[in-house]
Symmetry: C3
Subunit: 265 residues, 3 copies
């Protein structure tokens, strides 16, 4: 197993700048809890979100979008059908897409089966917590609802195997984020534990990944850049006033971060 390369802040700058300048249109089929937060985070970093979910519409919209996010947090049969159609179309149209396999695991076999079906349509990136990565790699995992009780370090081996098996990038995020294509591994440290106390930070990170990889030349570094941005925003956000202010400040920091880094362009 390759040793992890520490991701450097400066590496994120060109990817952040590219989102600002190109404003990629990101098609999101995501869960009901985080749609507003996800859209606002994509807008904050300079991308253009669009939530299109009807089976009659997803395929045609994938072809005009620059990237696709599929998040199965509140999946049910009908939305699963839309997701599968969209993922297949993304593969056929060679549009980069990100899978966020929320809460896959033995307590929820329905979505675990759907996640495996989605995997067959070749996502560019799987962004998941440790328990979800372990589950998709066919290993034992410990989770509580949507939260992993395994460390990302303990899931790194599974992440590498998953990346190799599906020829994809796996970003396993938690206290430390590991981002790998099965060969190279980047590690992103920092962040703040409060990030786990705002709903949708993981889901929105997956959307940010979709925005950063759209049209990027190095998708592994683009994915790591998204992880870095979220961790950095968590560090910079106002942490003294409580969780409401923290969530608002997180959005502030993501929007300022992009502006600062692209100001010179």
């Amino acid at each position: 197993m390759s040793s992890a390369i520490v991701f450097q802040a400066a590496q994120a700058i060109p990817f952040m700048a590219r989102v600002r300048s190109h404003q990629p249109l990101i098609h999101c089929i995501t869960n009901q809890v985080v749609q507003n937060f996800t859209a606002n985070i994509l807008l904050a970093i300079g991308a253009s979100p669009a939530m299109v979910i009807a089976q009659e519409e997803v395929c045609s919209f994938v072809t005009v979008a620059d990237g696709l996010l599929i998040n199965i947090g509140t999946v049910y049969q009908q939305s699963a059908d839309s997701m599968l159609m969209a993922a297949q179309q993304a593969m056929l149209s060679q549009k980069p897409w990100v899978l966020d396999p929320v809460a896959v695991g033995k307590a929820l076999p329905f979505r675990t089966r759907i996640a495996h079906e989605l995997l067959s349509f070749c996502p560019q990136v799987i962004r998941a917590n440790a328990a979800e990565v372990l589950t998709l790699a066919g290993e034992q995992a410990r989770a509580k609802g949507t939260d992993s009780q395994d460390s990302t370090q303990s899931a790194l081996g599974a992440a590498l195997r998953l990346a190799e098996q599906y020829q994809t990038i796996v970003a396993v995020t938690g206290e430390k984020d590991y981002i790998t294509d099965g060969k190279t591994v980047y590690v992103v440290t920092g962040g703040d534990q409060k990030l786990t106390k705002v709903t949708g930070t993981g889901c929105s990170l997956s959307a940010m990944v979709a925005a950063l990889i759209a049209g990027a030349d190095d998708q592994l570094l683009a994915t790591a850049s998204a992880c870095f941005m979220m961790k950095k925003a968590g560090e910079l956000a106002q942490r003294q006033s409580g969780m409401g202010t923290f969530a608002v400040s997180l959005l502030d920091q993501l929007s300022l971060m992009g502006s600062i880094n692209t100001e010179g362009h």
Copy 2:
């Protein structure tokens, strides 16, 4: 084509005051991304929002509500059925209703067809961006996801024709807002570009229109008043701290604006 009359701040006051005093019950069938924001904006200006979506419920609820908003942002077949039933009932019960035809255009023929069906039930107001107005008027439009790439000025002719054809008010909003009944045209200027970087400002504006026209004697001025309120709140909102704070401050300003203007009543 009539030349546009510049809307004056003072003209909004009686309509804002009426919402505060009458607290109209606004039935919203809107998209999944903006439901929370829309409800909070309606509450902020003094209206009473209610999201009722089941086919079993929409018709009876339209008859008790003071106004109806239909927004097709995340429409799918089942929700389309609810929307069509509600719109027809609104027409039959003579309840004012607003259509927000999010993202109609050649990339999304499914919703474009639904929007045309909805138009047959006589909305009092269509609130849309330039590309959406051009599409509904049968003209060429340029859009990127939910954003127009045409100016409102270039869509004014289409807005006038659409208003005449459907005997309705068209509010085409963007850098400048034009509000017309096919004869008179009001223009609302000001606002702030940051309004385009918070998801749901357009959708919530449509909801505000529904609240302001409910029971108003002059629906054209009521519609322009809603446009003015959103632009003014965008100007007054705190713009230095980033997009999270801006969105919160927008709600603050809308709630304070109403209070100030109705304090003397």
Copy 3:
């Protein structure tokens, strides 16, 4: 009718501390408007929210969760089926669950029937406004959309009868909150009228009840504690800057409240 016992702040402390230390997993099947706010409020008080809605998933998830919330705010036939399955499973698995019968009443017979079906699966707590309690008890009620126009005091008799009939706890909340198991009645006073101007404070209170009763030895006091927390947070929240800031500050206060009270543990 028993006279109401005034709830004392100190009585809430052990229940709040228990949520912090046990982080109960709360399965929420709630309305589309408040999902994000509800999740963030549960996280703020230390609980772990999970929104799982598919008919294929709700039963298995109820068995791993510590408690269940069912809120019928935007119910439709398919989600009603999920709710009924989840409620039945909760009864069979002896998992505590809370019913929030949003907007039941004569204007909306579909959801009123569903609420009555849900009642047959023995919720531990019904958290509702006065009009909803009166409706469920078979009495006349006055409501405007989701808001009651009856006082909680006028619904106390109905709350007592409802609690007795279904062997449940009824929390009828409004200007004063009454919490009763049909014998003892607690009253919680205080709060702030601004709580009625943020969408989802009632819905989120119901979720907090689910978190506080999970594993609690005294479910009546646990329910009253949740009511107290929301009222107190409403008093402590910043009320000068407008409704956006108030909502953010409400989350702040709930997150700080928990921390303070459990710091010594």
